[in-house]
Amino acid sequence: MTETTRTARKKLKTARADRRWTPQKTVLFIVGVLLGLLTVFPLLWMVTSSFKPADEVNNLDLLPSHPTLENYSYVFSQVPFARYMINSFLIAAAITVLALFFHSMAAYALARLKFRGRDTIFLMIFSTLLVSAPVILIPTFIVIRTLGLLDSYAGLIIPAIFNAFGIFLLRQFYISLPAELEEAALIDGASYWRIYRSVILPLSRPIMSALAVFFFLANWNAFVLPLTITSNPDLWVVQIGIANFQQQYSSSWNYILAASTVAALPTLLIFFFFQKQIVASIKSAGFK
């Protein structure tokens, strides 16, 4: 009883301390606000400048004196931006869904099934984490070409699925689940596929949603692989689209910034709505 009142009193005290402005806290608050403002400034500058007319875009006022949507309508009328966005969306979504499905399957086997060579297979998969995509760009290009996947949706999707990062995180999560979960199902004669489907998958919803947001963002932002394997503009993703747009309109910053804002908008929206999931996925990456 006394224990609970003590902790309750302590909680009240810290809550009260939270609200009090000590000099130290004021300094930290000011530092934090300044750093935060400095950090978001480039993005803020991009968004506000994208509403400035051409003759105003290079002035140093944060807000446009004659805000206009002209830049946006110009970008969408000159370049098939909507098409690029749809491509990006479909490709990133397909990669996310397939990757989560395959990675959770592999992770389930590596974490919950017993078989010879399991640790060796895990180490081999883990070591591929060290080989990141840009380093093997040329041979990957050759493999994709040999498979006849250049300039195709399949070429943009399939190679991007396979990444040991997701397998690793899901395996860590599955290892921590209690063994009793499956025992009952096994005694009832359920197959391993059944256990994976109806016991493991439902339990992994939190980590799966965290990884889904992370995978979608990473693939929406992907640039190097799409750059090397697509030449057909119909298949361009939004990153290739804006990089190309910039080369064509190199000094028309009002248009370039409108295009950049459009490309960044979905990721910013995802960030605002799914912050918790993004942070959770990064935290679980810290090899905890």
Partner: protein
């Protein structure tokens, strides 16, 4: 009594049978569960890696004819001043960015760990660049750094500094790329460090405070040692991310220039392969990079005693 005994014995026998049966079943199940990812990683990671190392021993011409030249590409590397300058640029970039990310990431984590009003908003603001694509980031900064008219120069005017050419002056450009890299990656490492800090039991700090330890002493003797696993993780991942991740930024922002000042190895590889068609030479440089990164990671694993990777 005896009946019951024999019944349990019988059940035990059935159980061992079931276990051996299920072992075979488990092996078969594991095969199918692992098949898609193993096949994919084999085709799109392992094969390209081996191919890179093999291709490094060939000279490939524009028509795709390959000729075996042994260590020819490696000898060429040794005599290629641009390769050496790219290596130098990469190393310089690495030795500045990795410690900078470490210090900034940890510093921000210590800041946003505090109980300050609006800390959630501040945390989000510090993290937001990380979700933006590097292509967009490169464009925004290019706009802000435009010679004479860019907002950054306009700001520096206030301090009496005139017309710096951030992207045209070889002396300044790599520094500019460094700042941008730290700016967009710091939020990620802030979260990683924050997770590490939250794992440290608060009682340790309380005890130290009672013993009269100063803030610096608490940081030096509690925070730093207990953050060691997180620190090693950050060092490994930031090194790999920095060596292989600067490509998008350099490609859009500087195109390797001015006069090679930002030509990172990863960009040089791309140039050799896709601009000059020197696939063999590019692959040789790439495989050298693979070997160096693997050796570096192995060394780091040894130093961390490989611990905390496998819970079994």
């Amino acid at each position: 009594m005896t009946v019951q005994l024999s019944r349990t014995a019988g059940r035990r026998e059935v159980e061992t049978k079931r276990v051996s049966l299920s072992e075979r079943k488990q092996r078969r199940a594991a095969f199918w569960f692992l098949l898609p990812d193993s096949l994919g990683l084999l085709i799109f990671v392992a094969v390209p890696m081996l191919l890179a190392i093999g291709l490094g021993f060939f000279s490939v011409d524009g028509f795709g004819h390959a000729e075996f030249i042994g260590f020819g590409n490696y000898l060429r590397m040794a005599a290629d001043p641009q390769f050496w300058s790219s290596t130098g640029v990469t190393l310089l970039y690495l030795v500045i960015v990795v410690p900078a990310i470490f210090v900034v990431g940890l510093g921000l984590a210590l800041l946003v760990q505090q109980r300050i009003p609006f800390i959630g908003v501040i945390r989000s603001a510090l993290f937001v660049p990380y979700v933006i694509s590097l292509v967009v980031i490169a464009m925004v900064w290019q706009f802000m750094l435009t010679d004479k008219v860019g907002v950054l120069n306009g700001f520096l005017e206030l301090f009496g500094i005139h017309g710096l050419s951030f992207l045209g002056d070889p002396q300044l450009t790599l520094g500019t790329v460094v700042v941008i890299t730290v700016w967009f990656q710091m939020g990620y490492y802030m979260i990683i460090f924050l997770a590490g800090l939250q794992d440290i039991p608060g009682e340790l700090y309380e005890a130290a405070r009672i013993d009269g330890a100063s803030a610096w002493q608490r940081f030096r003797f509690i925070t730093l040692p207990l953050l060691r696993p997180t620190s090693f993780f950050v060092l490994i991942t930031s090194t790999i991310a920095v060596v292989t991740g600067g490509f998008d930024l350099v490609y859009v922002l500087t195109n390797g220039g001015p006069s090679g000042a930002t030509s990172l190895l990863i960009f040089y590889i791309y140039q050799q392969a896709f601009l000059y068609g020197e696939l063999g030479y590019a692959a040789a440089i790439g495989s050298l990079l693979i070997v160096v990164l693997m050796a570096w990671s192995l060394l780091m694993f040894k130093l961390t005693k490989g611990g905390r990777f496998d819970n079994d």
